[in-house]
C-alpha cells in the first residue's frame, strides 16, 4: 500500500508538468479543426475569388487560363460599358427628388452634429461616422437620381430598394402578427403554425407560386382579375409592377421569420412590468412603446440585421418570376453576377459579387454601429 502510493506520487511528479503543457496547447489543438475548416471553406475561397475578380478567363488547349487584368472588371462596372447595368442611368433631378435629398442629407447632418456635440464622442468614432455618412450619402444620391427621375436604376439600386422595402414591411407585419398572436385570441395556436408555413417552402416554389398568381390572363386569380377587367394588364411586363411582385413574394416568404423571433422575444417578457404600467394608468400604446418595444429591441436589431444580409442575396424570386426582366428591371446583384457567370465571364461575375460583399459589409457595420448603443441603453 505504502509502496504503491509512492509510485503514484512519482508518476504524478513526472506527469504534472506534462499535463500542464498539454493543458496549454489543448485549446489550440481543439480549435485547430475549426480553424482549418474556416480557412479551407471561407478564407481561401474569399481570397481566390478576389484573385478571380482581378482576372479574365480564357480558353487554352485542354483547359482554361486566368489572365490577370488588374481592376478592369471593376472599372467596367463603375465607369465602363456595364455602368448603366450596375449603377443605372441618372436623369435630371425633379423637385421631389431635391426635397428627398435635402431631407435625408439634413437628417445625416443632424445626426453627425448631435454626435459631435454629444458626451461620447471620440476622434475615431467621428472619422468613422463621417466616412459612413459620405458613403450612405452617395448611395442615397444614386437611388434618388435613378429612381425619382426619368433615369433607371441599376442592379445595385434595385437590390437596395428590395432590401429597404422588404425588410421594413416584413418587420412591421411580423411585429404586428407577433403582437396579435400573444393576445388571448381564439385559434392563436393554429395561426402561430399557419404564419410559419411560407418560411418552410423552398424559395423557387414561392417564385413559381407568385408567377402563377400574377398572371392575369390565366392564373388561379384569373376570375378576380376578370371581374375587375384587369386581364389585359400584366404585372410583370411593367418595371415597377414586376419589382412589386418580387417584393410581395419576398415579404410573404420572410415575414414569418421576423414573426417567430419577435414572438419568442415578446413571450419571454416579464408580466410584472406591463401590469405595473397598467396599474399606473398607461394606455396600450404607451405600454407597447415604453415597455414592450425597448425590451424586444435587442432581438429586433438582430433579426433585422439577419434579414438585411439575407435580403441583399435575393436571387430565386426575380430569376424564376421574370428572369430579371422586363429589361433589367428586377435584376438583383446576385442575379446580375449569375447572368454574367453563365456566359463564363467568371472575372466579371466575381467583381459583381465583391461589390455586393462590400455593400453588405458597409450596410451591416453601419447598421450595427447605429443601433447597438441604443439597444445597450434600452437594456
Amino acid at each position: 500500500m505504502h509502496a504503491s502510493a509512492r509510485a503514484v506520487s512519482a508518476a504524478a511528479s513526472w506527469w504534472r508538468p506534462m499535463a500542464s503543457r498539454l493543458d496549454r496547447v489543448a485549446g489550440g489543438v481543439f480549435i485547430l479543426p475549426a480553424v482549418v475548416v474556416i480557412l479551407a471553406f471561407s478564407i481561401f475561397p474569399l481570397l481566390s475569388s478576389l484573385y478571380v475578380s482581378l482576372s479574365r478567363l480564357g480558353f487554352a488547349q485542354g483547359g482554361v487560363e486566368l489572365k490577370f487584368v488588374g481592376f478592369d472588371n471593376y472599372a467596367k462596372l463603375l465607369f465602363g460599358i456595364d455602368r448603366p447595368h450596375f449603377l443605372g442611368v441618372t436623369g435630371p433631378l425633379t423637385p421631389i427628388g431635391i426635397a428627398v435629398l435635402l431631407a435625408i442629407y439634413g437628417l445625416f447632418a443632424l445626426l453627425l452634429y448631435r454626435y459631435a456635440r454629444g458626451p461620447n464622442r471620440t476622434i475615431g468614432g467621428l472619422v468613422g461616422r463621417v466616412l459612413a455618412t459620405a458613403i450612405a450619402g452617395t448611395l442615397v444620391w444614386l437611388i434618388v437620381n435613378t429612381v425619382l427621375t426619368s433615369g433607371r436604376p441599376g442592379t445595385l439600386v434595385v437590390t437596395l430598394v428590395y432590401v429597404a422595402v422588404d425588410v421594413s414591411v416584413q418587420y412591421l407585419l411580423g411585429l404586428g402578427l407577433a403582437l396579435l398572436v400573444v393576445q388571448h385570441l381564439p385559434g392563436r395556436r393554429f395561426f402561430r403554425v399557419v404564419f410559419l408555413l411560407p418560411m418552410m417552402i423552398t424559395p423557387v416554389g414561392v417564385a413559381y407560386l407568385f408567377r402563377m398568381l400574377v398572371d392575369t390572363s390565366k392564373g388561379p386569380l384569373y376570375p378576380l382579375w376578370a371581374h375587375f377587367g384587369l386581364t389585359d394588364i400584366s404585372w410583370v411586363t411593367n418595371p415597377w409592377g414586376a419589382r412589386l411582385a418580387v417584393m410581395v413574394g419576398d415579404v410573404w416568404q420572410w415575414t414569418p421569420f421576423i414573426f417567430i423571433v419577435l414572438l419568442a422575444a415578446i413571450e419571454t417578457l416579464p408580466h410584472e412590468l406591463v401590469e405595473a404600467a397598467v396599474v399606473d394608468g398607461a394606455n396600450r400604446w404607451q405600454v407597447f412603446w415604453r415597455i414592450t418595444f425597448p425590451q424586444i429591441l435587442p432581438a429586433t436589431i438582430t433579426v433585422v440585421l439577419i434579414r438585411i444580409i439575407e435580403g441583399f442575396k435575393i436571387v430565386d424570386l426575380p430569376n424564376v418570376l421574370t428572369n430579371g426582366g422586363p429589361g433589367t428591371a428586377t435584376e438583383s446583384l446576385t442575379l446580375h453576377a449569375y447572368t454574367i457567370w453563365r456566359a463564363l465571364d467568371i472575372g466579371g461575375s466575381a467583381a459583381v459579387a465583391y461589390m455586393l460583399l462590400i455593400v453588405v459589409t458597409f450596410v451591416g457595420i453601419a447598421y450595427v454601429n447605429l443601433f447597438r448603443p441604443r439597444a445597450a441603453a434600452a437594456a
Binding site: 479574365r56 488547349q61 485542354g62 483547359g63 398572371d215 418595371p239 456566359a343
Partner: protein
C-alpha cells in the same frame, strides 16, 4: 429454413445463368459500360433519349444515364466539367454553336472516321446543311445531328382563309395580319385572343426570334455574306437602318399579343398557339407536330407553315442605308422579297468527351448513332414533345410516320415544305458559332433586346449597346482570331 435458403440460392444461380445465356445470344458488346449523357432539362430533347435508352441497353448491354441541367446552365456546366478535367459526362446532346469554344480547346472527340465507317448511321441521308454546319468544324466531324432547326412562321389556315388573307410574305404582312386578329375570339370560347404570340422573355430562347426578323433586312447576298458581323473587319452589323427596322418590327409585335408576352418563353407561346389563342406565331419546327397532338391541341389541321417572312428593303452594305431590292442587291429574292431563313441554333447534336475511356466512347457513339438512325429518328421527329425536328432526307421523303402521327397529308406537306424551302435557300442565315458565342447572344444581345422591349433603352441606345458590348468582347478575345473564326464558320460548302 436452410432448405428454403438452398432453394433460393439454386434459383438465383439458375436465373443468373439464364441471363448470361441471353447476353451471349444477342450482341451485348457493351455489357457493363455506363454512358453518362448530359443534356438540357426536358421534356424536349431529354424525353426521346430517356425513352430509347432501355431499348439500346437491351440491344447492346450499355447502360445510358441521362443527366439534365437547365438550358441556360448547360454551356458553362459542360465547359467547367471539361476544363477542370472532372469528366463526369461521357457524351452530351448540346448546341453545336458551342463547338467554337469546345473544339479548339480539344474537349470533343473527332468523329470523322466513325461516321464514315458506320453504315447503319447512313451519314449521307442527313441533309447536307446539318452534316456540314451542325456536325463539322474546320473540316472535321464532331457531332451526330439529332435535330434540324429552322425558325418559321405558323398561321391559322382556317382564319386566314375565312377572311381572304394570304400567309405573310413580309414582316409588314405579318404585322397587318396580327393586327387584324388581335382582340378577336379565335377559338370560340368567348374570350378575346391574340394576333401573334411570340416568346419575348429574357434569359430564355427569345433572341433567336429577333435574329429571324433581322435576317431579312441584314443578309441578301447569300449565306457567306453573314448576318452578324462584317466579314472584313468583324464590325457588328447591329447599328444600321436594317437592324433598326428589325427592332421596330419586334417592338410592334410586343404590343400585338398576350399581355404577358414579355414574360413568356417558347413553352408559353406554343401552348397558346396550339390551344387556338393566336393567329400567328414564329417558332422552330416544334409547333407542327404539337398541333396534331390530340392531348393538347385544339387546332388540328387548322395550321399552316411558311418560310420566314422577308423584306422588300434590305441593308445595302456599300451605302449603309436600306434600299429597295434589285436583281444585284437581292439576287435570291422571290417576287422582290428577300427571304433569309434563319437556321437558329443549328439543331441539338450529340458529341463525345475526348477524355472518356475508349470503350465508353465506342458505346456513346453507338448510342448517338442509334438515336439518329432513320428507324428511330423518323418516328421521333413526328412527336411534338421530343423537340426533334426533321433533318434527314428520309424524314422529308417518307410520309408514313407523319400520317401515322395524325397529320393529314396536306398538313405534312405544308409543314415539311416550309422547312425544305428554308433548307434549300441559298440565302440561309447561319447562326453564330465563334468563341464565346454564349456571351454575344445569350448575354449581350438578349439583355439589350429585353431592355429595349421594356422601354428601358431607346432603339438607338439598343443598337449602340449591342455594338459596344460585342466590340468590347471581340477586342478582349482578339479581333483577328474572332474574325478568323467567324469567316471559317461561314465558308462551308453547301
Amino acid at each position: 429454413m436452410s432448405r428454403v435458403l438452398a432453394k433460393a440460392v439454386v434459383l438465383l444461380v439458375f436465373v443468373a445463368a439464364c441471363s448470361t445465356g441471353s447476353n451471349t445470344s444477342s450482341n451485348q458488346s457493351f455489357s457493363g459500360t455506363t454512358i453518362r449523357v448530359v443534356t438540357f432539362t426536358g421534356p424536349q430533347i431529354a424525353e426521346p433519349l430517356q425513352r430509347r435508352a432501355p431499348d439500346f441497353e437491351k440491344a447492346t448491354g450499355a447502360k445510358v444515364q441521362i443527366i439534365t441541367v437547365p438550358f441556360s446552365d448547360l454551356y458553362q456546366k459542360l465547359l467547367t466539367d471539361f476544363a477542370t478535367k472532372t469528366n463526369s459526362y461521357d457524351a452530351t446532346v448540346f448546341d453545336p454553336q458551342w463547338m467554337g469554344d469546345y473544339v479548339p480547346s480539344g474537349y470533343l472527340e473527332d468523329l470523322t472516321d466513325r461516321v464514315k465507317n458506320d453504315s447503319a448511321l447512313n451519314w449521307n441521308d442527313i441533309a447536307p446543311f446539318f452534316r456540314d454546319f451542325s456536325a463539322t468544324f474546320k473540316g472535321h466531324v464532331y457531332t451526330v445531328p439529332l435535330d434540324g432547326d429552322f425558325q418559321m412562321v405558323y398561321y391559322r389556315k382556317d382564319l386566314l382563309q375565312k377572311d381572304g388573307l394570304q400567309p405573310p410574305a413580309t414582316w409588314e404582312d405579318y404585322i397587318s395580319i396580327a393586327k387584324h386578329f388581335q382582340g378577336k375570339d379565335l377559338n370560340g370560347d368567348g374570350k378575346a385572343d391574340y394576333g401573334s404570340c411570340l416568346a419575348m422573355k429574357r434569359s430564355a430562347q427569345s433572341y433567336w426570334a429577333w435574329i429571324s426578323i433581322a435576317s431579312a433586312y441584314l443578309q441578301s447576298q447569300g449565306t457567306k455574306q453573314g448576318a452578324f458581323f462584317n466579314t472584313d473587319n468583324m464590325q457588328p452589323l447591329m447599328n444600321n437602318p436594317g437592324a433598326a427596322a428589325a427592332l421596330d418590327v419586334y417592338k410592334q409585335l410586343s404590343k400585338i399579343g398576350p399581355p404577358e408576352q414579355l414574360n413568356q418563353d417558347v413553352g408559353d407561346s406554343r401552348g397558346l398557339f396550339v390551344t387556338g389563342r393566336c393567329a400567328l406565331s414564329l417558332d422552330w419546327g416544334d409547333i407542327g407536330p404539337l398541333a396534331v397532338d390530340k392531348a393538347q391541341s385544339t387546332v388540328q389541321d387548322k395550321v399552316g407553315a411558311v418560310i420566314l417572312p422577308g423584306s422588300k428593303k434590305v441593308l445595302d452594305r456599300s451605302t449603309g442605308q436600306l434600299a429597295d431590292c434589285t436583281a444585284t442587291l437581292c439576287p435570291y429574292a422571290t417576287n422582290g422579297v428577300n427571304h433569309a431563313p434563319f437556321a437558329a441554333f443549328g439543331g441539338w447534336s450529340g458529341a463525345i468527351n475526348k477524355a472518356a475511356p475508349a470503350k465508353t466512347k465506342d458505346a456513346a457513339f453507338a448510342f448517338l448513332s442509334y438515336m439518329s438512325q432513320s428507324a428511330q429518328s423518323s418516328v421521333d421527329v413526328t412527336i411534338g414533345k421530343t423537340g426533334f425536328n426533321p433533318y434527314r432526307t428520309s424524314h422529308f421523303n417518307n410520309m408514313g410516320p407523319w400520317t401515322a402521327s395524325g397529320m393529314s397529308e396536306q398538313a405534312a406537306n405544308d409543314y415539311l415544305g416550309a422547312i425544305k424551302s428554308s433548307l434549300q435557300s441559298p440565302n440561309m442565315v447561319l447562326d453564330l458559332r465563334i468563341p464565346q458565342t454564349a456571351f454575344y447572344q445569350q448575354t449581350a444581345l438578349d439583355t439589350a433586346l429585353a431592355q429595349f422591349l421594356a422601354g428601358e433603352i431607346s432603339l438607338t441606345q439598343c443598337m449602340t449597346q449591342i455594338t459596344n458590348q460585342w466590340n468590347s468582347k471581340t477586342d478582349e478575345i482578339g479581333r483577328a482570331s474572332q474574325l478568323d473564326a467567324y469567316r471559317s464558320s461561314l465558308s462551308i460548302t453547301k
